[in-house]
C-alpha cells in the first residue's frame, strides 16, 4: 500500500465524483515538504456514501478539502458530474462549488456566534439563492424542519443556545440549503456523545434519501464509518490501502493495515477475542519523509524486500474489492 493505481475506478456505474491522482503537499521548514496526500484516486456513484477511514494525520481532511479546492490540490483532478473542477475559473467555479458542501467536526465554532440561526442558514442564499424573501423563508423553514430544529425559535436564537448535536444539525441545514449534489462530512459526529451521534447518523441517512444526496463521510471510528457507508476506503499516510463494499471489507480485510485497524477497534462485546500481546510499535512515520515502497512497511509483519523498493498498485481481490499490497491477506491465506 499505501499504494497507487486506478484499477478500482468504475466506468459502468453512474459516477458523480471522480478523483484521480490527487496530490496535496504543504511546504515545511528547511525546504521540506509535508506529503499529506500522495496520489490517491477514487470515485463515488450517485446516491452512494463513501467512507474514508484512517488514523490521525493520514490525510482524510486534506482530501476532503481538496475536493472543494480549499486549497486546490498540488496535482491531480477532481471531476464532478463531468466538470473538471481544477480547470474551472471565476464564476463557473463558484457556481459549481455550491454543488459540493462540507460539514465539520466542531459544529459550534463553525457557526457565527453573533447571528441568529435563521440568518446563519440563509447566509449561502444571499449570494446564490432565490431573491424572493418569502420563498427564501419557506426554504429555510423546510430545511430546519428536516434537520429537527424548530424554525420559529431559530429566528431569534443564536448558536450558544443550542447543544453540540443541535449545532451539528444547524450546520447540516446550512449545507443543505444550497441543494448540493455531494456533501463532504468531516468527522461530523466525533465530538458528540454516542446518544447524540446516533441521532445525527440516522438523520444523515434520512436526508440522503429525501434529497438524493451523495456523501463522502470522513471518520476515524470504524464502527461509525461502517454503519453509514456503502463502500469504505482505508487511508494510511497519504495513500489509499484498500477500498471495498463495507460489509465485505470488514468481514475479510485484505490489507494488513485494515486488519490491524479492525482488530484494534474495541467492540462493546465482553466475549470478543482481544489480542493482548501487542504493547509496542505503532508510531506512524513522518509525512515529511514517508517510507519508500509501501508506506505501511515499517509496521507490517509481512514486509519483505519488495515492499521497500516497489510501491504496490491497486488490484482486485474480490468483487469490487481492491487492495494495494504485495502480500494481501486473502491471497496469502488461500495458498
Amino acid at each position: 500500500m499505501a499504494g497507487s493505481g486506478k484499477a478500482h475506478l468504475r466506468s459502468s456505474e453512474d459516477v458523480i465524483l471522480r478523483v484521480e491522482d490527487l496530490v496535496v503537499e504543504f511546504p515545511a521548514r528547511k525546504g521540506q515538504v509535508v506529503h499529506a496526500v500522495s496520489g490517491i484516486s477514487f470515485d463515488v456513484a450517485r446516491g452512494e456514501t463513501l467512507g474514508l477511514v484512517g488514523e490521525s494525520g493520514c490525510g482524510k481532511s486534506t482530501t476532503g478539502r481538496a475536493l472543494l479546492q480549499l486549497p486546490p490540490p498540488t496535482s491531480g483532478t477532481v471531476t464532478l458530474d463531468g466538470d473538471e473542477l481544477t480547470s474551472l475559473e471565476g464564476k463557473a467555479m463558484m457556481r459549481r462549488r455550491t454543488d459540493i458542501q462540507m460539514i465539520f467536526q466542531d459544529p459550534i465554532s463553525s457557526l457565527n456566534p453573533r447571528r441568529t440561526i435563521s440568518k446563519i442558514v440563509a447566509e449561502p442564499l444571499d449570494v446564490w439563492g432565490p431573491k424572493d424573501e418569502a420563498e427564501q423563508q419557506r426554504l429555510i423553514s423546510d430545511i430546519l424542519d428536516a434537520v429537527g430544529i424548530d424554525p420559529e425559535s431559530a429566528a431569534y436564537k443564536r448558536p450558544h443556545e443550542y447543544s453540540g448535536g443541535q449545532c451539528q444539525r444547524i450546520s447540516i441545514a446550512r449545507a443543505l440549503v444550497m441543494e448540493p449534489k455531494v456533501i463532504i462530512c468531516d468527522e461530523p459526529v466525533s465530538a458528540l456523545d454516542v446518544s447524540v451521534q446516533a441521532q445525527i447518523l440516522n438523520m444523515l441517512e434520512d436526508l440522503k434519501a429525501k434529497y438524493g444526496l451523495t456523501l463522502v463521510f470522513i471518520a476515524h471510528d470504524l464502527a461509525v464509518v461502517k454503519n453509514i457507508s456503502d463502500r469504505v476506503a482505508v487511508m494510511y499516510l497519504g495513500k489509499i490501502c484498500e477500498i471495498g463494499e463495507s460489509d465485505e471489507l470488514y468481514a475479510s480485510p485484505a490489507h494488513p493495515y485494515t486488519k490491524l485497524l479492525i482488530e484494534s477497534h474495541p467492540e462493546p462485546d465482553p466475549h470478543a477475542e482481544v489480542d493482548e500481546s501487542v504493547v509496542v510499535g505503532g508510531d506512524i512515520p513522518s509525512p515529511l519523509d514517508p517510507p519508500s515502497g509501501c508506506r505501511f512497511r515499517t509496521r507490517c509483519e509481512f514486509a519483505d524486500a519488495t515492499c521497500s523498493t516497489d510501491e504496490p498498485q491497486m488490484r482486485e481481490v474480490g468483487p469490487a474489492h481492491f487492495v494495494a499490497c504485495h502480500h494481501p491477506l486473502r491471497l496469502a491465506q488461500s495458498h
Binding site: 488514523e55 490521525s56 447543544s163 448535536g165 456523545d193 454516542v194 446518544s195 447524540v196 451521534q197 446516533a198 441521532q199 447518523l201 440516522n202 441517512e205 476515524h220 471510528d221 470504524l222 464502527a223 461509525v224 461502517k226 454503519n227 453509514i228 457507508s229 456503502d230 463495507s246 460489509d247 470488514y250 490491524l260 485497524l261 479492525i262 482488530e263 484494534s264 477497534h265 474495541p266 467492540e267 462493546p268 462485546d269 465482553p270 466475549h271 470478543a272 482481544v274 493482548e276 500481546s277 501487542v278 504493547v279 509496542v280 510499535g281 505503532g282 508510531d283 506512524i284
Partner: protein, 370 residues
C-alpha cells in the same frame, strides 16, 4: 439514596475491598445554583481488580474520580459521604495524609498527557520526580530507575528518550510516560480517566494492553473511566454505569452486557454502531438530552428520555438495589426484562412515545425483552 445506603461491600465480600465509596456527593455552588455533579455514589474497588466507570459527557465520571482521589480543590465545592482506602477515611482527611497516599498508594492517569506533563522538563526527570520526593534516591539511582520505568511502559531506546522533552514524543509515547509516572511508586490503585480517548485506535489498543499487563503483574487495582462501552467490555471485571451524577447500574462485566436491567444501559448500548452489524443498521438514538445537574427532576433522572417511564418514575427517585445476583445492582422502578417493564413499554408504545416505539422494535429484532 439517603440513609439506607447499600453496603456494596457486604454483598461482594469485604475481605478484598481496597476502596469503599459510600454515598459520596460532590456539589458545586455556582451563583444561586447547586450543580450536583456526583450525587450519592456507592461503590467498591477490589484488590487487583478493574472497575470500569462508563457514562456520557457530564455524567460525573471525572468529578467522581477526583473526589475519591481528594484532588478536587475548588472553593465552591462541597463533598460529603465516605471514601475509605484500606480502612482509612479519606473524606475530610488532612492534606499530609493524602500526600502520603498519592503516588505511593493510588495514582492517576489523565486523558490529555500534555496537561499532566511539564513541557519544559525532560521526561527522564519527570518520571522520577515522585521517586525522589518519596524515597530519597540519588541522582544515578534515579536515572537507572527512570530507564527501568520507561522499559516497563515499553518505550524503545529508553536511554535516549530520557533526554526528550514531551513535545518531541508522539501522543501515544507521552501517554506511556504518564503511565510510567503513575506506576513509579508502585501504587495499589490506579485511576485511569479516559487514558486513550485522545489516541488513535491502534495506539489505544497497545496502551490498554500495557495497562492490563501492568495491572496483572503488579496485582494493582484499576478504575478505568471512559465514555466508550467498547473500551470497558473486554478490559474490566466490573462496570458501573453513571447517569446524571449517579450510578444507575453496576454488575460484573459479562452480566452487565448479557443481562442489562437499566433502561439507560440498554439505550446506551443500542445507540452505539457496531462493526459486527451490517452497514446501514438503524441505530436507536436516545431522545433528548441529559438533565441539568443544577435542576434535577424529582424522580428518576432518566425518566424524560426513558422508553419505560411511568408516573412512579417521575415522582420517586429509584434506589440502587440488588437483583437475585447480589453483585448486580440497578436503580430503576421498571427494569428491562421484568413484567412491569414490559407492561410499561406497551403503555408507552400505545401512547406513541417515539423512544418506546424504537425500543419495542429493537427488542423484537434482538429477540426477547432485552
Amino acid at each position: 439514596m439517603g440513609v439506607e445506603v447499600l453496603s456494596t461491600d457486604a454483598m461482594s465480600g469485604a475481605s478484598d475491598a481496597l476502596l469503599t465509596v459510600t454515598d459520596l456527593r460532590t456539589h458545586f455552588h455556582v451563583g444561586e445554583h447547586v450543580v450536583k455533579a456526583v450525587d450519592g455514589v456507592s461503590l467498591t474497588v477490589h484488590k487487583g481488580k478493574t472497575l470500569g466507570i462508563v457514562g456520557e459527557s457530564g455524567s460525573g465520571k471525572t468529578v467522581l474520580s477526583r473526589s475519591i482521589m481528594g484532588i478536587n480543590t475548588a472553593p465552591n465545592i462541597e463533598t460529603s459521604g465516605s471514601v475509605t482506602y484500606n480502612g482509612t477515611e479519606l473524606v475530610g482527611s488532612s492534606r499530609s495524609t493524602m500526600r502520603k497516599l498519592w503516588g505511593a498508594e493510588m495514582s492517576m492517569v489523565f486523558q490529555d498527557p500534555m496537561t499532566s506533563l511539564n513541557p519544559v522538563v525532560k521526561v527522564g526527570r519527570q518520571v522520577t520526580e515522585h521517586l525522589r520526593s518519596h524515597q530519597g534516591v540519588s541522582k544515578s539511582e534515579a536515572r537507572q530507575a527512570a530507564i527501568e520505568l520507561l522499559k516497563w511502559v515499553r518505550i524503545p531506546e529508553p536511554e535516549k528518550r530520557l533526554e526528550n522533552y514531551p513535545h518531541q514524543m508522539s501522543g501515544g509515547m507521552r501517554q506511556r510516560v504518564c503511565i510510567a509516572i503513575a506506576l513509579a511508586c508502585g501504587p495499589k490503585l490506579l485511576f485511569a480517566d479516559e487514558p486513550t480517548t485522545a489516541l488513535d485506535v491502534t495506539v489505544q489498543h497497545q496502551i490498554l494492553n500495557l495497562l492490563s499487563q501492568q495491572q496483572r503483574e503488579r496485582d494493582m487495582a484499576m478504575v478505568l473511566v471512559t465514555h466508550d462501552l467498547g473500551v470497558v467490555a473486554t478490559r474490566t471485571d466490573e462496570i458501573a454505569v453513571m447517569y446524571a451524577g449517579r450510578v444507575v447500574e453496576q454488575a460484573s462485566t459479562s452480566t452487565l452486557f448479557d443481562d442489562m436491567r437499566h433502561p439507560y444501559t440498554q439505550s446506551l448500548f443500542w445507540s452505539i454502531p457496531k462493526t459486527s452489524e451490517p452497514k446501514h443498521t438503524r441505530l436507536s438514538a436516545i431522545v433528548g438530552r441529559p438533565p441539568n445537574l443544577a435542576a434535577l427532576p424529582p424522580g428518576c433522572s432518566f425518566a424524560a428520555r426513558c422508553p419505560y417511564a411511568q408516573d412512579v418514575c417521575r415522582e420517586q427517585a429509584p434506589e440502587l438495589q440488588p437483583t437475585e445476583d447480589p453483585s448486580h445492582l440497578f436503580a430503576c422502578h421498571l427494569p428491562v426484562g421484568s413484567d412491569e417493564g414490559r407492561r410499561a413499554l406497551e403503555v408507552n408504545v400505545q401512547l406513541g412515545l417515539p423512544q418506546a416505539k424504537s425500543a419495542a422494535l429493537r427488542a423484537t429484532v434482538a429477540g426477547g425483552g432485552r
